[in-house]
Amino acid sequence: MATITPLKTSAEQALFGQAAALPLVRKTAFEKFEQSGLPHRRVEAYHYTDLRALLKDAPPPALAGAHVSTPSPFSALAMTVLTLVDGRLDLGQSSDLPAGITVTESADIPDDGTEAASVLSSDPMIALNAAFADRPLRITIAAGTQLETPLCLRLVTTGSHSVYPRISIEIGANVQATIIESHEGAASGALINSVVEMRVADHVTLDHIRVNLVDSSATLLTSFGGSLGQECVYRGSNFVIGGHLSRHQIFLRFEGEGSNAQLSGAALLNVRQHADTTLVVDHAVPNCQSRELFAHVLDDESTGVFQGKIVVRPGAQQTDGKMMSRAIVLADGATMNNKPELEIFADDVACGHGATVGALDDDLLFYLRARGLPKREAEALMLQAFVGEALEGIAHDGLREHLETLTENWLKTRA
């Protein structure tokens, strides 16, 4: 009897070859990936981002020792910078750490057995990261620390290789901090697959801003898994300009009562960029509030994906969750896919979601043009306002203004 071997794509073949050749690989994690291979359109979570079809190749992992010469895009702002070059911490290009922050490298990715961890490990791309991440980084912010300047994690890729950054962040009680996750660099064909885990204790106020500024020919997959203790305020933002193909996964779980999470994001896409934001907000306990607002601007033949799910577990009464996705499609060839979902197992909750996709409002456009603004300028003003709403939640003024400037510059390239 003939045995049937499922066909592997060239990217999968490359990954299997690398797994066989590299000594550092974590075998069990790779086996998890091996069971499913690259996720494709028949896997529900990846229906709109079929990695099997979209990922043409998986270049070899980056070697250590590359140097980064470009300054941080946020160099004008006062920050504590930790630079990860091709996924490895480079102390030579990092700031001295303020009191309360400790950073260690370890060869292991501890499986702490929590539910949050199991959500992460069930995703094949996160399993792939666990297999290949060669210097997982562990950051601890001690209880009571009030960070005066943001902690900026620069994740810089130096060329066309594969990079698997892995960072776990432990945040103690009563901390106040701003953490920036800045994805930069890379060249054509690069595959960046990063995972950030965050465990947040009680009474923490945390701003967490992820910025995708990688080269427009690279692939960037980011996954974030966070859990919040009691009475926390978490403001998470996701800003996407870069990447030919990108997917930003956000898994946030409320584990303590009385917490509030505001998640927002903006993606500005053109040419043939494909950007996916996939979000699960898990209300595991009562009395928490979540708000989500995501904006997409799609030009040329770009594709946007927003998948957002609010889960309310049994007993998580008094949950208040609202999710909104808005998209403006500027060209006939551009596509937006919206998939908002609610999964509610408690009976005393207020949850809602909405999604809109449309062109710029013709009447508004005429109003602005009748006041003398040329068409492109009028459109830019409207788009700036549209994106601005999604950036409003960023509490750090300098950072928000910087992202507004990046938006303005992006809009100028349309003219």
Binding site: L368, R371, L373, M382
Partner: protein
Amino acid sequence: MLEIRNLHVAIEDGSKKILNGLNLTIRDGEVAAIMGPNGSGKSTLSYVIAGKEDYEVLDGEILLNGHNLLEMEPDARAAAGVFLAFQYPLEIPGVATMTFLKAALNAQRKGRGEDELTTPDFMRRVKLGAEKLGIPQDMLKRGLNVGFSGGEKKRMEILQMALLEPSIGILDETDSGLDIDALKIVSEGVNALRSANRSFLVITHYQRLLNYIVPDTVHVMSKGKIVRTGGKELALELEANGYADYVEAA
């Protein structure tokens, strides 16, 4: 001078004709009022002059100071001196009123080949104009027209007109939704802008507005054309007798 000759206009798909050979001339410094029943084409006329894309011009021409407006984009028409005060000014969340005013003013100046205004110069002009119209400073910081009352929106339209200094101001039912105090403020704002080289086209249903903005000429519009022209006393006659005669005659 605004000259409209034999203007025929249909809505974009050509299914319905709205203007049927309209002729109208407004001299420099003249305030012309157009009155007429609902559906006579008054608002369409204002949109066609300003360049809204939902209409198809089948025949005729519109000249402003000799420039053929129908060949120009809406923003070029604005730079050439057309200002339309909207019946329903639109709300633009996220665009601060001040930012919008500056962008509009500088775009028009650029369109005419003039230098941009310096920020202090611009601020001074806005402040002066806003004071005259009783517009508080904090309104200028809010999103354009967002959360403004009907009266505030109309005052904001007049402030824009004052800053942009058009050669023709078209007021499309500016009196709608205004209480008597707001009507006075808005009318005073318009009257202050009257000058020898600026004309106005005042579109209204009611004679009341014309007590405050006294016109030089009054035109009656019905079924897409001007059916009668007279002095300011014509408005009083219409108020007394209604439009019935004209609807039948046209």
